[in-house]
Symmetry: C2
Subunit: 588 residues, 2 copies
């Protein structure tokens, strides 16, 4: 039997060959008694011609053919006439003249066209995901996802890592996000949880003496979804023993360099820049700054602390800050109405308003100008290196609100004003994170990363005195303003882990109940260890130039965590529930 060839691989080199093709009908055209079919397979397209001079039978069979029919075609590769050459496709200099045609399967008219630029509603695309995925763009994305995982594996394998699998049916440890639960049939009233990450298992793997572990791991979080979240997602999960955080960051950088080179043919130079958390917040108002453009936050509290503009003065007196963004040369392009819209935007982040000034003929103008002394005005102009035509936008509030609102505003303006070079990859390590965050409502500390993160050694004693000042031995990797992931060294001594849980408000009993197995394992020769986890979906999103995380996941779920293709979740039978000894509460 003749071996099938791939449509997209045919070229002038094959002219004169008889070939067997199998694929889908991308398009059919009838022209002058001939039928032309663009036949598509995973490799691309080729034009097949049905010509009565060559095969009347094949032509007749082709008459019944419609878009997306699945065909088997034999024919000969011929050169196209000069006038019909199509330079837009790889096989555009040749065509296949059909000798035999078999219809392998029919197709109804698809609910939408299979083409790269689509404005079809996403819900319809998700319901017919198997049609959507036939689009070239998504085919390429999933090839790229494949290449990305293989490049990661190849790097880690070469570096002596073992790929290992941790359980999906695990123990619920409510610290962190909300768990997906799985009722046990055998153990009445008990539940497994799906892992939010393999964190504790990878630490146990280190305690098992494996030293270098990785996994392309599925993780689950039952959270209210945003555009860039999915209930299940995939992370590149790595853990090592005996390495320093510098070692782990170096290794990760080299891995990412290999990925970008192999998948995107992009060179990045190492080492990647690093920035302490405090600096990232102060300069960019973000713990994951997009460093592809400037327009950093400019701190001016010292200049305006005595200002008669009460908003500024009040913010500083209450322990907050005044910062500004200098939107260079944009004064003329932002009307009062435009600025009102920016004001609405920052209010989402808790800001009460958005003070502004414009620079005109060396002078600051705008509604608040009259509250500022000349000294203050000159100070601002100098600090902001403001020039004629610049627009200054102010944040003045609690520090966290100033950072959040101006950080978000900076990103918005960066995009609006086209300040971002979309073809560059700006990596950044954010280091020296706070270990703990204080929740003022609940009046307790939470772990900023997770409760197993190692404090910076010299800060350890502060756990007793000022827990909020303790830095973590942790690092996040940021790419173009997205957090790719992060990691840390972990606590490997029992007494330190107990101390940490104590600061987090765990009683001895609660600590034992939830993490007893870890605490015990720390007593049997736990090595110093640490690692990192990177979001694979997000890496692929950035590499493929997509802005929609769902385009990087083969069968994604909607914002309400539904699978529109299969209709999951769905109703199950009473028998199934009875076997699990559970029942559904009445709807309130």
């Amino acid at each position: 039997m003749r071996e099938r060839v791939l449509a997209g691989r045919l070229s002038e080199q094959n002219i004169g060959e008889s070939v067997l093709l199998k694929g889908w009908v991308q398009k059919r055209r009838d022209l002058g008694g001939l039928i032309f079919i663009d036949l598509r397979d995973k490799s691309g397209l080729v034009q097949v011609v049905f010509n009565p001079d060559h095969s009347k039978a094949a032509l007749e069979a082709a008459e019944g053919v419609r878009t997306e029919y699945v065909l088997e075609v034999t024919g000969s590769v011929v050169k196209r006439d000069e006038g019909t050459i199509n330079p837009a496709i790889a096989t555009g200099r040749i065509e296949v003249v059909a000798k035999d045609l078999t219809i392998l399967n029919k197709a109804k008219t698809p609910p939408f066209l299979i083409q790269d630029d689509t404005d079809v509603a996403e819900d319809l695309r998700l319901k017919y995901r198997y049609i959507d995925l036939r689009r070239n763009k998504l085919q390429e994305t999933f090839k790229m996802r494949h290449q990305t995982t293989q490049a990661i594996r190849s790097f880690l394998n070469d570096d002596g890592f073992l790929e290992m699998e941790t359980p999906i049916l695990t123990k619920s440890t409510p610290e962190g996000a909300r768990d997906y639960l799985v009722p046990s049939r055998v153990h009445h009233g008990q539940f497994y949880a799906l892992p939010q990450s393999p964190q504790l298992f990878k630490q146990l793997i280190m305690m098992s003496g494996f030293e270098k572990y990785y996994q392309i791991a599925r993780c689950f979080r039952d959270e209210d979804l945003r555009a860039d979240r999915q209930p299940e997602f995939t992370q590149v999960d790595i853990e090592t023993s005996f390495l320093t955080s510098d070692d782990i960051m170096d290794m990760t950088e080299q891995m990412m360099r290999r990925v970008l080179k192999e998948v995107g043919n992009v060179d990045i130079s190492l080492p990647l820049p690093r920035m302490p958390y405090d600096e990232a917040m102060a300069r960019f108002g973000s713990d994951k700054p997009d460093t592809r453009f400037g327009m950093e936050l400019i701190h001016v509290s010292d200049i305006v602390e005595q200002s008669s503009f009460k908003v500024f003065k009040g913010a500083i007196e209450s322990g907050g800050k005044v910062c500004l963004l200098n939107v260079k040369g944009q004064a003329v392009n932002y009307s009062r109405k435009d600025i009102d819209q920016l004001t609405d935007f920052v209010k989402v982040y808790g800001a009460k308003g958005l003070a502004w000034l414009k620079v005109d003929d060396g002078q600051l103008t705008g509604p608040i100008a009259k509250f500022l002394s000349d000294e203050e005005k000159n100070g601002l102009i100098e600090r902001a290196t403001a020039a004629d035509g610049d627009l200054l936008l102010f944040g003045s509030d609690k520090t966290s609100i100033v950072y959040d609102s101006l950080g978000a505003l900076r990103l918005k303006l960066g995009k609006e004003l086209d300040l971002i070079d979309e073809n560059t990859f700006h990596f950044l390590w954010v280091t020296d994170w706070p270990l703990l965050e204080y929740d003022e409502d609940l009046e307790r500390y939470f772990a900023a990363h997770h409760p197993f993160t190692m404090p910076v050694e010299e800060d350890f004693d502060k756990l007793n005195t000022s827990p909020g000042d303790v830095r973590a031995n942790a690092y996040d990797l940021v790419l173009n303003g997205y957090e790719l992931g992060g990691g840390s060294l972990r606590i490997h001594k029992k007494e330190q882990q107990m101390k940490m849980l104590d600061v987090l408000g765990f009683t001895r009993e609660a600590a034992d109940e939830q993490f007893g197995f870890l605490l015990e394992a720390l007593e049997y020769g736990a090595p110093p260890h640490g690692g990192i986890a990177l979001g694979l979906d997000r890496i692929v999103m950035l590499l493929s130039g997509s802005s929609n995380l769902r385009d990087t996941i083969l069968f994604p779920k909607t914002a309400s965590a539904s699978d529109l293709l299969t209709n999951a979740p769905n109703d199950v039978s009473k028998t199934q529930l009875d076997e699990l000894s559970i029942q559904v509460n009445d709807k309130e």
Copy 2:
């Protein structure tokens, strides 16, 4: 800073070097004022000597050291004295004389010794899995598991496959084994199910035009566990478009050849033997025959159908069979009492008894001999090529009971009599499976594999007339008597899939409710497709020479689906259940 070296990599080549080691204390011995420590890391062991002449401080520090302490040691590599060379370990010709010692972590006395031969109760090993995994044997098993998955990936990547991820939160389709369910928080009273396999998704991937897919996929079945079952397991999941079953079997064979070569350095010759299901049952009483030894079932119904031994005659008259095993030369080793034990053994498989004969001086002897005519006796001797000293064991009952009981007895005797060469790998394809199995209690057909399996083309019409006779276009791969996995071509036309569901007793509504998305997808240009799934855990078990599936899974569960290490499943809070709108029924 000096770079750490791995203990097991040191050799005479390193003599004179100063090295930095990190690892665990395998053993400590005090001798003549010196302390000897076997330091273990992931690469192996090296002996470290603490000698007051070299470093009094290090010796003093070593005095506090116990088994499984985690150490950092610097020292010099020296040649051992002739008399102290230890040929049993790779580094036995050298030792490291310690200069500095840092205790990185302490360890309590482990609950059991970390050594390869262990008789520690498995429950204790599972509770302290992180200690158990430090044993060399398990370290090697998980290296082998890693190598196995990489060899599989490397083969499939080279062959143009894409690795893709299918969802874990999917739709419950109760056909098959019992689903693990996951309550939805957002959709009141609805549930996800964990996938028993990615079957429907991989078919949808074919309908998405990807043509060659694989995944090292986690699968879940909530079944009562046997020794070789786990609630979650891993399969090498493969699907292809446009290939024949021969193509898929060829590809799988080549993949397995690569795995055995790369992981076990074992050569197997292709093509692998194939055997129709009916033949496997008739010759070995098993659909997964262990072909490493003979002792096949010998069919003698025709010889004894008129016998005055009513058990034989009755079995045949009721439509059953009489078969025997010739246990060559073992007559003298099986007393009546021994045979009684074998009788108890076959009763587990539904046999009512175990008739037997011995060959002595050319004559058949034994309790049933007197019921057999000379012609019958001679017929049996000839058919069984029985010789003096042979033991003949009979099964006579319904065919399925004869096959099950003699098939199991054959395996038992094969092991007992050491007929099996444990160092060989006997692969076998079992083909031409029945498509359907009839359940006499429920009076309906079930899919022998799953409802998406393609019938053999020429049998298709029999779906209307004699469904039980329809063969499936399916194939199982057997290794040394274990089913590694199996596959099939799938139905790719809607009307055939509807017909199949109809035969399985689905109403039109039930078919739509459960598989509507598949039926619809079949209408939009589904290509011919098929694939295979192989059990990774079992492949690793056979490659590593283990007989316990739990030794191939990093964190396995017990027969009651518990994780003894973390204590999963466990109780969860009422808040968690309330958020999911479920409650636990009272215990009956």
